[in-house]
């Protein structure tokens, strides 16, 4: 069997030759090697030369006190584990050694072989664990720094791209709007139709840019929320008032089932309006016959309110359900692409609801309909829990 040279991992310093001899014999069978010496100069050389993990020093030596030697080690090699090796039960020496040299253990003279070996083993283990933890910590710090830098870059990129897109888009939109609205003269019905299609797509592009920015802000937690304790039913009614004509023009009913006993809850009115608009838009878009029922329910016992938008539309295929709230996931539709969405609406809804401490979910059956519902926590309960 070929013997691998053992690594020197432990340093012993003691001014007594006999002790050093004894120590050297003691460690022959250990998986590591030791460096044992009576000379402080040699000990210092060994510290610089080998990858020492554990330093064991005698307390009383003519050249230097054990405390001072270990302090020296601490200052130069802070990661090394230090042991004071002493024949005296001297509490003030022990205290001093702990305070000044950050001594991790003591070994008493005369020593017991098993105790000595197990103490040194434990100290090596301790060193290895600390080193591992330190490396992990450094790795984490580094990846954290990288992430922060990447985030800043992304934010800057999004902001710049957004500005660069908006500027030309603004001219295109205003130009088209001026013509479509006949503010710069009459146009033929055919011209109106052609430009109408351009307008619809310019507006869609505008929504897309807005949604991307919104989502970027939300995902990075940079979106300021303005929570005010308010009446949710009122916000729901207002959203519906704004959209009921669209629903009516498609022959769809809109039914309201609002709970009068809904407690006031804290929410950002603009953002919840955005959620309601998104859900209602989707419901109208995917429903050909029947209609939409909007409900609010006070679930005071489970400390939240539930808002639901239920349609009698074509439903969502089971395979699509897990992707519903993901970015840029749009159900393919053969029937219509008349009102192309941005593919971001539901991702935004989820962000908004979650920022409220709530949850959004979907239930659907193909050919029967879809229900999107979200819960918002009631404040009093939330506060009392804190």
């Amino acid at each position: 069997m070929e013997l691998m040279p053992k690594e020197i991992q432990v340093l012993f310093l003691d001014d007594e030759e006999s002790i050093i001899d004894g120590i050297q014999r003691l460690f022959i069978r250990e998986p590591y090697d030791i460096f044992a010496t009576t000379s402080v100069a040699q000990a210092r050389e060994a510290l610089a030369k080998y990858k020492i993990k554990v330093v064991v020093s005698d307390y009383r030596m003519p050249e230097i006190s054990g405390t001072n030697f270990l302090r020296e080690v601490k200052d130069q090699y802070p990661e090394m584990v230090k042991i004071l090796f002493t024949g005296y039960t001297d509490f003030s020496a022990a205290e001093e050694a702990i305070n000044i040299g950050e001594v991790y253990r003591f070994i008493n003279k005369p020593w017991k072989t098993t105790e000595m070996l197990s103490t040194i083993r434990q100290c090596i283990e301790h060193y290895d664990l600390l080193l591992k933890a330190k490396t992990k910590e450094e790795e984490l710090e580094l990846s954290n720094k990288k992430l922060t830098a990447m985030y800043e870059l992304q934010k800057e990129f999004t902001s710049t791209v957004s500005h660069e897109l908006r500027t030309p888009l603004a001219s295109i939109k205003t130009a088209i709007d001026l013509v479509v609205r006949k503010m710069v003269g009459d146009i033929t019905p055919e011209q109106e139709e052609v430009l109408g299609r351009a307008k619809k797509n310019v507006d869609r592009l505008k929504r897309l840019i807005d949604d991307i920015l919104d989502l970027t802000k939300m995902e990075s937690g940079k979106l300021q929320m303005n929570f005010v304790i308010n009446n949710l039913n009122q916000v729901i009614s207002e959203t519906i008032d704004a959209q009921k004509d669209v629903a009516a023009s498609r022959g769809l009913y809109i039914k309201l089932e609002l709970d009068d006993k809904l407690p006031p809850v804290p929410f950002d009115s603009d953002r919840i309006t955005q959620v309601m608009n998104n859900l209602l838009n989707n419901a109208i878009k995917f429903t050909k016959t029947g209609g939409i029922t909007i409900s609010s329910v006070n679930k005071v016992d489970s400390n939240h309110v539930v808002i639901a938008v239920k349609d009698t539309g074509r439903g969502i295929a089971q395979s699509w359900m897990p992707k519903v709230f993901e970015k840029f996931q749009q159900m393919e539709s053969k029937e219509s692409n008349e009102e192309g969405g941005t593919g971001l609406g539901l991702a935004i809804c989820r962000q908004i609801v979650e920022r409220h401490g709530g949850k959004i979910q979907v239930e659907s059956q193909e050919g029967v309909g879809t229900t999107f519902s979200f819960i918002l926590p009631i404040q009093e309960r939330r506060l009392s829990r804190v």
Partner: protein
């Protein structure tokens, strides 16, 4: 007839905005930069300034600061017209942009014509 001054380095949008406002009865002038415009503004005497923010040279926010330093110009209302949304020196918060603690009406680019007309009329009349 109320006089409006548009300050925007984007010639296309400035001219389209001018058409929109002119068709609605306003008298409109355009400047394509906010650099050294104090004298011109003194001559034009606008009732309202529509100001872009990100322009080469002096930014819209700096231009507003400069106006504040002139007794004759400091009371001219300013509406920011900008494609800027995230970050930068002036982050848009509702209901507008704040420069040195004062809030200004802000219209995002691209704007809706009705929005533009509403903000302009509201700022001029109240």
């Amino acid at each position: 007839m109320a006089k409006i001054l548009i300050i925007d380095d984007d010639h296309d949008l400035a001219n389209l905005t001018k058409i929109t406002l002119t068709k609605n009865g306003y008298k409109v002038s355009i400047l394509h930069s906010a650099d050294n415009i104090t004298d011109e503004i003194k001559t034009l005497k606008p009732d309202l300034i529509l100001m872009d923010i990100m322009m080469p040279g002096i930014s819209g926010a700096e231009a507003v600061r400069n106006l504040k330093g002139h007794p004759q110009l400091k009371s001219i209302p300013v509406i920011f017209l900008t494609g800027l949304v995230l970050g930068g020196e002036e982050e848009i918060e509702k209901p507008g942009i704040s420069v040195d603690g004062q809030m200004y009406q802000t219209l995002g680019k691209p704007y809706e014509i009705d929005e533009l007309l509403a903000v302009v009329s509201k700022t001029l009349n109240g």
